[in-house]
């Protein structure tokens, strides 16, 4: 993998991830498009620029780890794992089907490249904290990356884990908060507002950064700051658009957990310039 920073190439990969997400969800007719589309740039950046990983040697002891705490965004994880070569892209069409290795929510024992089984919200962050602590304890200088949701931030366990990582100065942990302001029942600000977000995380002892989660350059700069912080864990609050890239899905709460129809798929792929 070339380490030369190429934002246009990473943006193109994000577009391809969105195409895969739409295609696999239309095929499975079940799953979560909105929160998968919103993290495409983050996944592209992590898996194609940032993380020290090798799909041919997925168990390398000094690899970086990724935990998708908002496990319902599994299609985004599967898309990037396939794009990166952990398994054939054709496997994506098996999503949620009986004989597939792609479960509705990530399961590490089924899918190559998945580090932790997640789905019950809040738990992935604690597991990521545990992994980061374990690596430090073993003297392994790798990092742990994790994506949590803003709806997920209503779980008490998020704040237990935030306290643990802040208190224990787990500085090899970098968390993205996919801040798209939508959860199943409506707007996060209207269901149970989690703001002020920044001051909460700051108060818990985290380096807290705010970015546009769809800007590869802003992700790049935030990760640079993560690498210069040796005393605190880092959270990157990524302002995102749920359903990003597909006009009729953007900011539409109903596309949290409803897959696109065949007709919607065609329109979406056209918008994503996939011909």
């Amino acid at each position: 993998m070339p380490k030369r920073y190429d934002p246009d190439a990473l943006q193109e990969i994000a577009r391809r991830l969105r195409v895969s997400i739409i295609e696999m969800l239309a095929e499975s007719a079940s799953g979560h498009p909105g929160g998968s589309l919103s993290i495409a740039e983050i996944m592209s950046y992590l898996y194609f620029h940032e993380m020290n990983i090798d799909p041919a040697n997925p168990d390398l002891i000094d690899r970086d780890r990724f935990v998708l705490s908002k496990g319902h965004a599994a299609p985004a994880l599967y898309a990037v794992l396939a794009e990166r070569g952990y398994f054939p892209k054709n496997d994506l069409f098996g999503l949620r089907k009986i004989n597939s290795h792609l479960q509705g929510h990530p399961h590490r024992l089924d899918t190559p490249g998945v580090e932790a089984s997640t789905g019950s919200l809040g738990q992935g962050l604690s597991m990521a904290v545990g992994m980061a602590m374990g690596l430090k304890l073993s003297g392994i200088h790798s990092n742990v990356f994790c994506v949590i949701g803003d709806g997920e931030s209503q779980e008490g366990q998020i704040w237990e884990a935030a306290m643990t990582a802040g208190f224990r100065k787990v500085s090899n942990l970098c968390v993205f908060l996919d801040h798209n302001n939508l959860q199943i029942d409506g707007k996060v600000t209207e269901i149970k507002n989690i703001s002020p977000i920044n001051s909460k995380w700051e108060a818990f002892g985290w380096q807290t950064l705010m970015i546009d989660g769809h800007s590869i350059n802003e992700i790049h700069e935030a990760i640079r700051l993560f690498h210069t912080e040796f005393r605190r864990p880092t959270i990157i609050v990524a302002k995102t658009v749920k359903g990003k890239g597909v006009s009729f899905m953007e900011n539409q709460v109903d596309f949290h957990g409803v897959a696109p129809s065949q007709m919607e798929k065609e329109i979406a792929l056209k918008e994503l310039q996939h011909v």
């Binding site: 002891i61 932790a116 089984s117 738990q123 992935g124 604690s126 980061a132 602590m133 073993s138």
Partner: protein
């Protein structure tokens, strides 16, 4: 019979294991003094994490640590470890097949004075339903030592259920302990008393009364092997006794009695009386007073055994 502390033994065994194996990590949730993980913490502080009052975070963090190759012991009272953090045990530990050993203390009515909030009567039932989780309920300190050593060297999730109170030393040092194997505390071919944890020595006292006062030869089985259950041992005693009485400091639903009844219904149906807590919470009192109050004592076991044999 001399008595020993199961949790005290747990702390000693952990320390011994931790000295030998540097991949062993111990976690607690502000109960290290009570669960006795403090014995480990005092000497091996760099591999001990007090997670504070965050049992759910502790369990998932333990899973994360385990996924980097560590053998993680996580302790609290059973009510918090399995009850409060059940979803974390289910998903972070068992679904991940994480190498986490859940060692709970202060199980059942035996907690005593703290009362119903702290007396878990459901943990064995909950734990039994979880795939990949092995469940052991030691009856004395020696068995605790064996169970903790076995868990440490066997990959995958374990739940070991310990008591607050000291228990009589039932096993001799040459006792052969193995995964999925219970032990015979007393042989007899009239009726089999099958007990776990703090109830094994009570069943033993009842067996002696049955034999001396009622001329009923009673066997006492220590079914510490809850999952996998020791079906071979159950079959041996099903073949030679007229019925089973199960005794547990736990709900009658889904615990030892449930496991034995499920086994018997599918393998060798025979009369069974299930003794434990029925549709009620505990209350405050000494553990002895509570066992008397809720009918988990020698007299009641004798009465249930006689009722199976239709002796009034």
């Amino acid at each position: 019979m001399s008595k020993s502390s199961l949790r005290g033994q747990y702390g000693k065994t952990l320390l011994d294991l931790g000295r030998q194996n540097h991949d062993i990590i111990v976690m607690d949730a502000d109960l290290a003094k009570s669960t006795k993980t403090q014995t480990f913490a005092k000497e091996i502080s760099d591999r001990f994490y007090d997670m504070g009052l965050s049992e759910q975070d502790m369990i998932s963090t333990a899973a994360g640590l385990a996924l980097t190759g560590k053998t993680v012991f996580a302790s609290s009272f059973c009510v918090f470890l399995i009850g409060r953090a059940f979803d974390q045990v289910r998903q972070s530990v068992c679904y991940n097949q994480a190498n986490v050993k859940l060692v709970g203390t202060h199980s059942g009515l035996g907690v005593g004075e703290d009362g119903a909030t702290h007396q878990t009567l459901e943990d064995v039932a909950l734990a039994r339903t979880l795939p990949n989780l092995k469940v052991i309920v030691p009856a004395d300190a020696l068995e605790t030592d064996f169970a903790i050593r076995l868990a440490a060297c066997t990959p995958g999730p374990f739940f070991v259920r310990l008591t607050r109170q000291d228990l009589p030393d039932l096993h001799s040092p040459d006792h052969q302990f193995a995964l999925g194997k219970g032990s015979v505390i007393r042989d007899g071919n009239g009726i089999s008393l099958i007990a776990m944890g703090s109830m094994v020595h009570v069943a033993l006292a009842a067996a002696e009364v049955l034999e001396k006062e009622h001329h009923i030869p009673a066997a006492v089985i220590n079914m510490s092997a809850i999952k996998p259950l020791d079906g071979d041992l159950l079959m041996r005693y099903a073949l030679k006794s007229k019925g089973f009485v199960t005794v547990e400091d736990h709900s009658v639903n889904g615990g030892l009695g449930g496991a034995v009844a499920e086994w018997a219904a599918q393998n060798y149906p025979l009369p069974i009386k299930i003794m434990g807590m029925k549709e009620q919470f505990g209350r405050s009192g000494s553990s002895e007073a509570l066992y008397d109050h809720f009918g988990l004592n020698t007299d009641h076991i004798v009465a249930e055994a006689r009722s199976i044999l239709n002796i009034r």
